[in-house]
Amino acid sequence: MKARRAVQAASLLLFLLLLLFARDGGVLGLPADLYLRLDPLAGVVTHLVCREIVPTLAPVLAVLVLTALCGRLFCGWFCPMGASLDLLGGLARVLTRRLWPLRRTLGTDPLPRTAKYLVLAAVLAAALVGENLDFWASPIPLVTRLYALVLVPLGAEGLVLGIEKGAPLLEAAGATDLLYLQVEAGHFRTALFVLGFWLVLLVLECVRPRFWCRYLCPAGGLLAIVARLAQVRLRRAGTCVSCGRCAAVCPAGLNPASPIQSHPETAGECLVCLSCVRACRHKSLRLAPGRVRASSLSGSASSPGLTLPTRRSLCLALAAGPVLSLATGIGPLAAREVPVRAPGSRPEEDFLARCLRCGACMRACPTSALQPVWFQSGVAGLFSPALDPRTGACLPECARCGEVCPTATILALPLAEKKWARVGIAVLKRDLCLAWAQDKRCMVCKENCPYGAVDVVVQQGHVAPVPVVDEKRCFGCGFCEHHCPKPVSAIVVESRGALRLAGPGFEKAAKKAGFILGAAQKKAPYHAPLFQPEGSGESTAPPGFLE
């Protein structure tokens, strides 16, 4: 038990560190998306959805092999979702203990345990018709979203508050580095939804510990099926006096002392946490290898709720998956437009098929430019990442989003290649622009453009020099839109013209399309004649000067 808690805590800590340092690279040489690549559901389903082997998800094989040997050890010991539920759920149970005394009684499942198989069936069936439903229920993406979009930003806000309040102390201590510490907290659009989702999970935690893992988690369901093969199982010795202590501590709500415990179906429910082994005063329980003979189980019929789902409910789930996911392509539920995606994003259909909505790219983006979308790209695109320049712009010297993407939805491109992966084109709204519409001298879009794609030109009929966009030079990074002083930006990045490929080759494709993407400073400098007003030869002052 103690060993398990230590491993669980260490695992959760590692998960958190990987997430915290996602912007800076991995921790201990591990990839920032390590845990996401271990997600059993995503690791199995994603290949089916996109009809292609996704090599980055290979680590999931380790989890499947581990489960086939020892049961749901991953759920009990390593899963950060499980650890977070144990931690936050435990906290919630302590806080609500008086209001809501928990009775962990056996055999009173508020939901059939087979529900998770139905979720799994629906997700698998949708995957077979090429639709991605697993982002709704894959545990590691769910928990990544909680930390990346809600808890880490909250923590950062807290840190800023602490620095502000402690400023006099820090100053006295000479800790000026801390005083000027740059904390980019980041605010994410669907954070409230994610928080609400987790609050529901925590209420369910108060109903039964590990409610999610017992009844709903499709990855847990998948591992439960694999765990039927497990050779290492709980064994009961003859010394058992049926005192019930083991059942009282079991977080999965099982009765480890029951002979049924050895049954393959039950093995799938056990989280191998070993609480029962520690609780037993008669040393009757131990984890040991060896095959269970079917004859030893004869007569002990499977207990209700531990069986597989009924044929009818299974058929319904298998039908529901494709129907639900295909319905998202109809009418008002369908995509309205293609949002501006991260640089190196695959073509839209492939993108939505692969994307786990885990939020790793959003966490890794140093300017929080990648935001989850609501319904902009339809129900099927819910929570998928899109570039929102008003929040932040895409830095030319950064390609972290692709590096942390567990399914290569955003390709991991070296900077030399990423700089060609144009995400869209900035479009000037002349009716809103200070210079075009209001004759004000403003060129904030120009002075912020890292690619030299915006020029300010003197136009007849306009008092102030006006900005124009050179589309061949525009990357769509959004610095112009981010800094436009108008309350509603007068220059907006549109996804039109984005380069979306299923693999490397961005530079070649971009050059073929005639893009001239490079740092503004590398642009050929202006030479004499230095200033030539358009039209007449009469003397006009250079840009920004008065007559």
């Binding site: 000027y180 200070l434 800094h483 004499a528 920004g544 008065l546």
Partner: protein, 232 residues
């Protein structure tokens, strides 16, 4: 040091000018000196590319910062303002005894040039409203009336003579530094000393300089001022 651009591009003040100023401040007995800007991009990229961070760190560590978070700013009333009556200014600036403006000499397609006066926009949180809500020239003078630099040191070692403020543009190399306790005079002298887009321009042709002169912030009639030339 607002722009991610190297020394040769002349989009930022020369790191040696900043470093030397810093050294002189410390030699003069300043107990606490800060080199600050509100750059376009959060983080240290422009500080590093400009070479200014390394130059400052070479003199004393932990002085050079890019302040983009709200917590470093305090909302104040700009007394005597004509247009922009409120904005948030860097706390460090508001608390400072002496403020030194150290801009590079360059063009700016909004305001003609960007020198000591226009450069003060790097000390406010919300620059956008100066473009959109207020008249830019008036707002610059409103700002400079409240946080007037005690000394302006215009770096004209290189002058970005076209396509400012970011460039790339034609870079002149006069190897000069123009300093004055009157920021308007320093700016006016800079405008009068070099060519802009290949022509001579009078200080009165720069809207905010003319306005600052008219409002008594300083003098742009450099021909009537005592200008000393030192050759080192």
């Amino acid at each position: 040091m607002s722009f991610v651009a190297d020394v040769d591009s002349a989009a930022n003040t020369h790191p040696e000018v900043v470093g030397e100023l810093l050294r002189m401040c410390l030699e003069a007995g300043a107990s606490s000196v800060r080199v600050l800007d509100h750059a376009f991009r959060a983080g240290r990229s422009s500080l590093e590319t400009s070479g200014i961070l390394a130059s400052c760190e070479g003199v004393r560590e932990g002085l050079c910062h890019n302040l983009t978070s709200e917590r470093h700013y305090r909302e104040i009333t700009l007394d005597g303002a004509r247009d922009m009556h409120r904005n948030a200014i860097m706390r460090d600036v508001l608390e400072a005894d002496v403020l030194i403006a150290a801009p590079v000499a360059k063009t700016n397609s909004s305001t003609g040039v960007s020198l000591a006066l226009k450069g003060q926009m790097g000390l406010v949180l919300d620059r956008g409203s100066m473009h959109s809500r207020y008249d830019l020239d008036t707002a610059i003078v409103d700002l400079c009336s409240r946080i007037k630099p005690s000394l302006a040191v215009v770096d004209a070692t290189r002058v970005l003579s076209t396509n400012g403020p970011y460039g790339p543009g034609l870079v002149l190399r006069p190897s000069e530094v123009i300093a004055s306790p009157d920021p308007v005079a320093a700016d006016a002298q800079t405008v009068a000393s070099y060519t802009w887009y290949g022509r001579r321009v009078a200080p009165r042709q720069v809207g905010h300089i003319a306005l600052a002169h008219a409002r008594g912030l300083g003098r742009m009639d450099v021909e009537n001022l005592n200008v000393q030339r030192l050759v080192l």
